[in-house]
Point group: C2
Amino acid sequence: MSLLVVGSVALDDVETPFGRREGALGGAAVYFGIAASYFVDVRVVGVVGADFPQEHLDLLVSRGLDLSGLIVAPGRTFRWGGRYGYDLNARDTLYTELNVFADFDPEIPAEFRETEHVFLANIAPALQLKVLDQVAAPETASLDTMNYWIERTPKDLREVLGRVQIVLINDYETREIAGEPNLRKAARTILGWGPRLLVVKKGEHGAVTFGPNGAFAVPGLPLETIIDPTGAGDAFAGGFLGCIASTGDTSPEGLRRATIYGSAMGSFCCESFSIDRLASLEPAEIEDRFRSFRDLTQFDHRPLLVDV
Amino acid sequence: MSLLVVGSVALDDVETPFGRREGALGGAAVYFGIAASYFVDVRVVGVVGADFPQEHLDLLVSRGLDLSGLIVAPGRTFRWGGRYGYDLNARDTLYTELNVFADFDPEIPAEFRETEHVFLANIAPALQLKVLDQVAAPETASLDTMNYWIERTPKDLREVLGRVQIVLINDYETREIAGEPNLRKAARTILGWGPRLLVVKKGEHGAVTFGPNGAFAVPGLPLETIIDPTGAGDAFAGGFLGCIASTGDTSPEGLRRATIYGSAMGSFCCESFSIDRLASLEPAEIEDRFRSFRDLTQFDHRPLLVDV
């Protein structure tokens, strides 16, 4: 099984209370692709500039990512600068230099067009639609988005929401897209537009999924070491969709399992700058992390007040 | 088994996007006591003014609360005014009129001094210490506190933290008391001062407990109807300690069960203004809500990447 991701490949300048990194490997397609690579073959469509370091390309290849769809264009790579305070759930974007990403017009290579699972990372909804026009009906198509597109291109966003099965966004985006402060009602609104499943990412507070079988929620793992949360949402999506692409299991149990693998990959992502931790995991570490989520959350029901 | 609560009994003026209530029955001891009353006999020590409506007293008695320790003093009842926006996790305190509560000096009636379980709601740490001096060694003593005392009377707070077994506070308070932004490290610091268990309440994001057997976390239930979150943290504490007082079970499983009953009572509290919903529950509704938390959170581990 294969999983296609279309999205940004970037160089990030990140500052947290625990240090600073310049020109670090980043971008949604990178975090997503590396996280998913533990589960399934990953194909990347994106663009970088001529300044993109060979060592970053080497690392992506070493994780098994198929970069046939990654164009190297004349000019500079997409660059993002951000700073976090002690509340790592909030960050300041210092600058966004789109550079070669400004003219990104995703062309899906012929050999990628029948990929079974497609993830549209956070790019313009119009481009997400162009990707969907180029792929043969995948088993699942999924998307992420952000406030910029919710506010500027709501019509395109609504159209692409009607053409995917899974939406992975954060809680603020969920409320903003639906124009509804109550999360459960907002989820119902969005599901009413077509998607079968909504995965709401809540940063350190975990994640909650809404679908035809109700809600499933997982709290955040209280990590001992949180260095840099950049990319954790994309790593979550990579673990989540990597699991689904690997198993083909979208039963209620299968989706719960995918949510935990997503949470595990998101949690690893926070434990270092850039992809340092995420790209150097042993499969057994991922299973151990899954078990940590079980230890954190499981309990029995022995009724105390009435016999039921 | 009995559970003693010492804390505020108030009249609240509350405004949310869903309406407004004036002179509503409120206060930490009220929310706590009503929630706990489904599990165990509850004894209240507090003070109200001569203006406190008889109907509020009648309601507390109807829930089985023993009000022998509730003094009616000349003057006006403690009054709190607050307003919530659509983000119900944040609120503005419009005013706090301590009134008779300003001179509150808790006197524990002789017949309450051997109560097995004692909860010190959010009052001055010096008063919490005075309560502990008046009770014979209870099986568990627990406390809540707030930023006001963390900043103004850190020495008293540190002393009382060394004399209780259970601390129930929110995530901001946890970080502030410990002077440490990482929640797990902050928890370790606080547990190092004496308490056996720290219960961190996170509002709509659920709760996480830290103790000798590690962490247990429960996400918030995505409620369809959230009217007024005032008192939800105290209702959580009432469900949590009511369960423990009822069962005497502080095993890891017992504490997880208590955390879910706490979460259930906190969730009911949000579904109406004041104590309307919290005070009119059937025991079977509480068990149903417990089951909703199970449906929301449970999953299996079938390893996908390696056999373990």
